[in-house]
């Protein structure tokens, strides 16, 4: 079996004495959809923030694609191929959908500032290629109707898709989704699930997602990691996790 794309080893993080993550270790295999579940405050978002460099772990290490780091900057993480979406839509609200998506391609630009400013050399072909890739993703996520709208004017569910498009357009090898279906109704959740699944299949993108809706998690993921108070209480296939007594205790409370 190939080396896991993401390996976490004894990752700990605390905020002013409160342990958000406690010696957490697990692997994410290449090409899988891994769900992080657990009650609010279990440390799920903190973990995503460590993987893409928003937070720095107090101890432990993260290996991504064979590269080990304790501290990485978010821009560097993106350049290595880690994409992410945000729990509260962190879109560029004054920009159109197209510009939001194009922003996700900026890191792939190979032209110099001078070339770009004057449309010289490779710039024209690069600009055309970027436009094509952006439109491809916009079509893929069924956003063509909204392409030139300013995102702050779009409904919440559509904004969530724009966030996904912006992350996906740069073809990340690892995609971190922080509650991509929060606040959606059943239809929208089903639609979003199919987009995530489709991205995973057609682009071979490894996905780590945080989700609360268990039916979504069970239907979508190959691998489930359960967190509770910053510790790992379950790690396995959806079936295994569902039968795990610790997980049941964490979710439903222990029988006294």
């Amino acid at each position: 079996m190939a080396e896991p794309i993401l390996q976490l080893r004894d990752v700990s993080l605390s905020f002013k004495g409160i342990k958000a993550l406690n010696a957490l270790s697990f692997d994410v295999e290449r090409g899988e959809i891994c769900a992080l579940i657990g009650p609010n405050g279990a440390g799920k978002s903190s973990l995503l923030n460590i993987i893409n460099g928003v937070y720095r772990a107090d101890s432990g290490s993260v290996s991504f694609d064979g590269e080990r780091f304790v501290r990485i900057r978010p821009a560097r993480a993106a350049h290595l191929g880690i994409g992410r979406t945000f729990q509260h839509n962190a879109l560029f609200r004054h920009l159109s959908v197209l510009d939001n998506v194009l922003a996700g391609l900026i890191r792939h630009s190979r032209t110099t500032l001078i070339e770009h400013a004057f449309g010289l050399g490779r710039d024209r072909s690069e600009t055309r290629a970027f436009g094509r890739r952006a439109d491809e993703i916009i079509g893929f996520l069924d956003l063509a109707r909204h392409r030139d709208r300013v995102v702050s004017t779009l409904p919440y569910g559509v904004q969530k898709r724009v966030d996904l498009a912006r992350a996906l357009v740069g073809r990340p090898s690892l995609l971190l989704l922080d509650e991509p279906m929060a606040g959606m109704n059943q239809d929208e959740k089903r639609e979003m699930s199919s987009f995530v699944l489709e991205a995973n299949r057609s682009f071979r993108t490894t996905v780590v997602l945080i989700e609360h809706d268990m039916s979504v998690v069970m239907g979508l993921s190959h691998h489930v990691v359960v967190l509770d108070y910053g510790r790992k209480v379950g790690d396995g296939t959806p079936e295994e996790v569902r039968r795990n007594p610790d997980v049941i205790a964490a979710y439903l409370g222990t029988v006294h």
Partner: protein
């Protein structure tokens, strides 16, 4: 009537030059959320460097090129030495840093090149042109045209290119922008470099008009009402704000000056700005800051 038109046009032309200075502020404000107090020092530094080289007989274009190189070098140094260590600090910290920076730049520029007033001749003839009954200063026309072209080029650059998208992305959500791989440091260097270029043009135009001297740093004070009226986050706002300030200043000077004992233009735009702060605190084109709860 022709007198009114003459005053009005003269004011608008002066206004374009205010816009030019204000745009330097807008760019840096958008990229790093800070009012760059050192902008005036950059104008002085650029003007002084250029005029010193001209006095020693260096060719016009070569002097311009060398000055530009120095301004870009300053931009990169500022990002490395001042801004990078202060990432994620409160805005007031950054503001104080630019205040300190203004003293450093002014100090070094004057140690190296002296504090005397230099005359700067850009080779533009300053005889008035007469159109119908209206007389317009030829220098003002050329200066306004130069500033206008620069303003338009910058708006196009920052509205239609990837640098523009990156700049607006950083302004909207810095964390999300970094998470998709936009490098804050590179963007800051570009924006400060462009602000340095704008300072150079402003330094030459203002320097040619009133001599290259320490008072050039005071153009900052004129940019403040422009920004308050137009909005801190909009290039369009800087243009419109500059025109409003220029036109209203010169009209007020003529029509209110005699009533109030003169030099109305030194304070009129500030009163106007205070009015805007009361009615429309974000300026004509600025964004209301939204705090996430």
């Amino acid at each position: 009537m022709s007198f009114f038109v003459e005053t009005f046009i003269g004011g608008l032309l002066a206004g374009v030059m205010y816009s030019l200075v204000a745009i330097g502020f807008v760019l840096i404000y958008k990229a790093s959320g800070v009012f760059n107090f050192a902008q005036g020092s950059m104008v002085l530094c650029a003007g002084l460097t250029f005029v010193t080289m001209r006095d020693r007989g260096i060719d016009f274009w070569l002097a311009g090129l060398i000055t530009l190189t120095i301004m870009v070098a300053i931009a990169i140094a500022v990002e490395r030495v001042v801004l990078r260590p202060l990432v994620n600090r409160p805005q007031i910290t950054l503001f104080m840093a630019t205040l300190g920076l203004s003293f450093v730049i002014e100090g070094i520029a004057q140690i190296a090149m002296g504090a005397s007033v230099h005359e700067l001749d850009l080779g533009i003839v300053d005889t008035p042109i007469t159109v119908g009954e209206v007389q317009v200063s030829q220098f003002d026309l050329v200066a306004a045209a130069t500033a206008g072209v620069l303003v338009i080029a910058l708006s196009i650059f920052f509205n239609w290119t990837r640098v523009g998208i990156a700049l607006r992305a950083i302004a909207d959500d810095p964390l999300a922008a970094r998470s998709i791989g936009i490098r804050l440091q590179t963007l800051w260097q570009i924006v400060w470099g462009v602000a340095g270029f704008v300072s150079l043009v402003a330094g030459l135009l203002w320097g040619a008009r009133q001599g290259v001297q320490f008072a050039l740093t005071l153009v900052v004070l004129k940019a403040l009402p422009v920004l308050i009226i137009g909005g801190f986050t909009s290039i369009t706002g800087a243009i419109v704000g500059g025109l409003i300030v220029g036109a209203s200043d010169s009209l007020a000077e003529i029509y209110l000056g005699s009533l109030l004992g003169g030099s109305v233009s030194t304070w009129f735009s500030y009163v106007l700005a205070v009015g805007f702060l009361l009615v429309r605190p974000t300026g004509l084109f600025g964004d209301a800051p939204i705090e996430r709860i």
